[in-house]
């Protein structure tokens, strides 16, 4: 989060300069908005937490060969979520500025989506990726697209503060405390880049990708001199592939990514060994009223070259099942049930939900988030944090 403020200034300057420097406007400035308000009730407490009111404003200023776009969130603070310039050349599109670059074709889990950090302070929010300052270039020929992304400054994934709802204590050896994280210096040498070659059309869409950057999550290194556990960010390279196809009422999607961590020799117990993630899924729409989506995610972590008895990191294979079912008895009413079940840890998240749209642009929603599982598992860590939420959205 500390880096966000430093990104605002250059982006703001760029946006301002371009606004005044674009002599050929293709249309007027448009402003769209969304007001959301909600509350959450902890089922363990019970304790009511008002979410407050949030205003989201989206600005768009098109011009002859591109557009300027920005998105701002206003509640107790003002956050610039996106601000970028689109330039449309004959066969190439450029996007420069603070942006989200979503890669991958699968639903719920995208192993190839590694360009934007995850906001772990809101791990179950629908939009939990943070935008970054980046240059994105896409070159098109026929059904093919070659893409290059450059992220000059690494942004780590924000972690929940101790005492906050989603904080999970880091297991520390006796006598140790948690040290300050060591992030890569903000130098161009430490910038991230990615390449993707994709084809959209024909029987199936598919892509191959490569990412060379940093792991958004730190590894924990013991420092015996200071008796601290130091979170250290490491280089990460990812080879990815995805596909999507459809037949009749069915859609099929899949992604795979091989994560080449810094511990290629698999000898450092603090750094995760290289690992492979695969997601395969399908969706089915039998009629207006029903929609089903299911996927299986598998992660395989390479076995260590040395004995890691008592070591902190996992090895082997873990599997997760993800299911969604929706029933829409009327156009304005949707009932849904989402489930993520970790087959390995036997922990799960269950989310029944309901949304109702009495008029265009207005949606009421409510639902439950239910966590279950042994302590130390992904959802078992939140077993006492079930909650009910309710909210309203008004778009204008």
């Amino acid at each position: 989060m500390r880096s966000r403020r430093s990104f605002l200034s250059p982006v703001a300057i760029l946006v301002t300069e371009l606004l005044f420097a674009s002599p050929v406007a293709a249309g007027g400035l448009t402003v769209d908005g969304l007001v959301t308000a909600g509350a959450e009730i902890s089922l363990a407490g019970p304790k009511v937490e008002l979410g407050g009111v949030r205003l989201t404003l989206q600005f768009e200023q098109p011009f002859s060969s591109g557009a300027l776009r920005a998105r701002v969130e206003v509640d107790r603070s003002i956050r610039l979520r996106e601000a970028f310039l689109d330039i449309y050349l004959e066969d190439t599109d450029l996007r420069l500025g603070r942006q989200r670059i979503p890669w991958g074709t699968a639903d719920i889990s995208n192993p190839t989506d590694n360009l934007n950090p995850v906001d772990y302070t809101h791990p179950f929010a629908e939009e939990n990726r943070l935008e970054v300052l980046a240059l994105r270039a896409q070159h098109y020929w026929g059904d093919w697209t070659a893409e290059f992304v450059w992220i000059p400054f690494f942004v780590p994934s924000p972690q929940p503060e101790p005492g906050s709802r989603w904080y999970v204590p880091v297991p520390l050896p006796p006598g140790f405390s948690l040290g300050a994280p060591q992030e890569p210096a903000k130098e161009l040498n430490n910038s991230e880049f990615a390449l993707k070659l994709s084809r959209m059309g024909g029987k199936a869409d598919f892509s191959l990708s490569y990412f060379d950057g940093w792991d958004d999550l730190p590894s924990l290194h013991p420092d015996l001199d200071s008796m601290t556990i130091v979170p250290v960010y490491h280089r990460l390279r990812v080879l990815g592939a995805d596909f999507a196809t459809a037949s009749g009422k069915w859609g099929f999607r899949g992604e795979a990514a091989y994560f080449l961590t810094e511990d290629r020799e698999r000898t450092d117990p603090a750094i995760k060994n290289p690992y492979l993630q695969v997601v395969l899924g399908a969706d089915f729409t039998p009629s207006d009223a029903y929609y089903f989506n299911g996927a299986v995610a598998v992660e395989h972590v390479a076995k260590s070259a040395v004995s890691l008895k008592g070591g902190p990191l996992e090895e082997g294979t873990t599997s997760t099942l993800m299911l969604t079912a929706e029933y829409r008895p009327r156009f304005e009413l949707t009932c849904g049930l989402d489930c993520i079940y970790n087959l390995t840890g036997r922990d799960f998240l269950l989310r029944p939900r309901l949304s109702y749209s009495p008029a265009d642009g207005v949606t009421f929603s409510t639902g439950l988030l239910l966590f279950h599982g042994p302590a130390g598992t992904r959802f078992g860590n939140f077993a006492e944090k079930d909650y009910l939420y309710a909210g309203v959205e008004m778009a204008f």
């Binding site: 293709a26 249309g27 448009t30 769209d32 908005g33 969304l34 768009e60 098109p62 557009a67 776009r69 689109d86 449309y88 599109d93 989200r100 979503p102 890669w103 074709t105 639903d107 719920i108 939009e127 896409q138 098109y140 059904d143 697209t145 959209m200 059309g201 024909g202 029987k203 199936a204 869409d205 999507a244 196809t245 459809a246 037949s247 009749g248 009422k249 069915w250 859609g251 969706d283 729409t285 039998p286 009629s287 207006d288 929609y291 989506n293 969604t324 929706e326 156009f331 304005e332 949707t334 849904g336 749209s357 008029a359 265009d360 642009g361 949606t363 959205e393 778009a395 204008f396």
Partner: protein
């Protein structure tokens, strides 16, 4: 991710709405009349703004505004790009459909919140289009060979001469897919545009009535029923589609119908 109820809207312009043609010189068979109605005449591409008003039995109204750009290829391909302008919660949503070139239709949906095109399955033809009283079968391009077309008679409807044609699905599969057992058309003789259509169920009961009006001359012998109203006699609701700012044969390039264009939130 939830799939929004869009579809092969290949469409409004290609199918019911854009009934373009030239006047008949001789008595035609039922199949020839439907072909003339269904084809787009000399129109190779079209762009328009569409207003869709969905009115419930109780009178509650929802309004959607879209732009549509479509193109017919020499190789029987049809490409359509739809973009929602309003209401605010669906603004920027776009849909691309390419049919007739590589077998099964290729469909992509772009949701601004998702930020990337998503390939989606072809919808069931009898599903509702965007919660309206039109189904995908209603607004899609009619597959001529899926029906037996019989000219029942010619008559006057209001102050216009019309052909009355009956279309019956050739198989149970088509019948189930389209959701009706028979359709009767009233096609204007002068312009081959749709004046009225009735949809009948297996018991011969009329379940929906479609009315086409406000015929406009687009030039080059092309005509358009620019207002379509579908009444659902079962639910009591109705949907009105109106075309505005129609442009034809403006030379829309093929590369407009790509996922690249789909992701541009306006233009």
């Amino acid at each position: 991710m939830k799939k929004v109820g869009f579809v092969t809207f290949s469409l409004i312009c290609c199918g019911l709405a854009l009934a373009l043609s030239t006047p008949a010189r001789a008595e035609l068979s039922g199949t020839e009349i439907i072909k003339r109605y269904n084809e787009m005449g000399s129109v190779m591409d079209m762009s328009a703004e569409i207003e869709m008003r969905i009115i419930s039995k109780s009178g509650q109204e929802r309004v959607r505004q879209l732009t549509i750009v479509s193109k017919r290829g020499d190789d029987a391909t049809r490409k359509v790009l739809l973009r929602f302008l309003s209401p605010a919660d669906v603004k920027g949503t776009a849909f691309l459909s390419i049919s007739g070139v590589r077998g099964e239709d290729e469909n992509w949906l772009y949701l601004p919140a998702l930020g990337k095109p998503r390939r989606i399955a072809s919808e069931e033809r009898s599903n509702s289009f965007m919660g309206s009283d039109f189904t995908y079968a209603d607004i899609g391009l009619l597959k001529i060979d899926d029906y037996r077309h019989t000219l029942l008679r010619t008559e006057r409807l209001g102050n216009e001469e019309v052909y009355v044609v009956e279309s019956v699905p050739v198989s149970d599969k088509v019948r189930r897919a389209d959701g009706f057992a028979k359709k009767i058309w009233w096609i204007r003789k002068s312009t081959f545009t749709l004046a009225r259509a009735e949809f009948l169920d297996n018991n011969g009961k009329v379940i929906k009535v479609l009315t086409g009006s406000d015929v406009v001359d687009l030039g080059s012998g092309a005509w358009l029923s620019s207002r379509l109203e579908m009444q659902n006699l079962t639910t009591g609701s109705r949907t009105i589609i109106t075309f505005k700012n129609i442009k034809v044969n403006s030379g829309i390039p093929d590369d407009y119908f790509t996922t690249r264009e789909l992701t541009r939130t306006s233009r």
